[in-house]
Amino acid sequence: MDSSNTFFWTFAYDFIRGPMAWIAFIVFFAGTLFQIFRLLSLTKEQSISKLTPGPGRFIPKRADNKDKKDWVMWLKLSIAGVNPFMTIVSTIFHVLLIVMPIFVLGHNILLDNSFGISIVSLSESVSDFLTIIVILCACIFLYRRLFLDRVKAITTWSDYFFLFLAAAPFVTGFLAYHQVFDNYRLIISLHILSGEFMLMAVPFTKFVHMIYIVIIRFTVVSEYSLGRGNRTW
């Protein structure tokens, strides 16, 4: 490696570790706030009017509590009941995708070195295991995209791209931790870079479903809304 090359690498490495990380976090948080306010401005509050019974005969409540919500039937008809495997895979993938990076030991050491703060972290073997789980889940998603007719019918190139973008920080993190390749610095650079791109992509690309799902499912009133939605589009 000649000197100009070394200089370039040092510069690039320092840039993606420093300013680029700040840019990524600022874009992520500002973009997320922007999308939250945009979604809230698209929807408006609506009072839920309850009808009171009018004159005439109406059906009395059953004494044997039979008209209670049938939770077993409800669960059977829900996505978890219809598609249990996919529900489990998807839930594990998304929870780990968001929660795990916060508790990785290496990340907490970086936080401690930079700001003197750190939180509880997972042991390295546990995070290693969880990383494999995330990569496995991503592989299942990839398998569905490649071979399931129903998924193939609506798959575009961007679906593959964003699946790879979501899995990339985990794959490169795994490779870097195990030092699979000699060039550790290259792999860790790719790890940081893919993480930064992923963060910046959240508010503005397909990843926006992360914000959309929270705002819409919890605030917009519908048969399927979670919590107490009282807004409408």
Binding site: M86, S90, H209
Partner: protein, 128 residues
Amino acid sequence: MFWKQSTAGVNTKEVKAILDEKETKMKLSLKACAHCTLCAESCFLFMGRNKDPKYMPSYKFLNSVGVLYKKKGKVDRLDLGEIRDLVWERCVLCTRCYCPVGVDIPEMIALARRVCRSQGVYPQYERD
């Protein structure tokens, strides 16, 4: 497409005006669709047609409203005909479709119907 699409017989400005009305919501919803296909089983037509992917709610809105926004309203009669078959024959707007992310699928189908209707493209039974 390499050749210029003939939009004769379609008032593209009118189509664009309808699309613009709900642009933010629709574009955001189209983007939020993760193409997960978990909405499929909530459509009784999908279940009734031997789980044909063409009856998936997501397939239906991506190929109707999705196409309209992608082409910015510059569609030809053929496109509108395909959209008509999609939003009237493969969807009855029963509004029972369920999206885990919360995409408002019925409204998207309704918008596609509105665009088609504005251009005089609709099934025979709606003419009276």
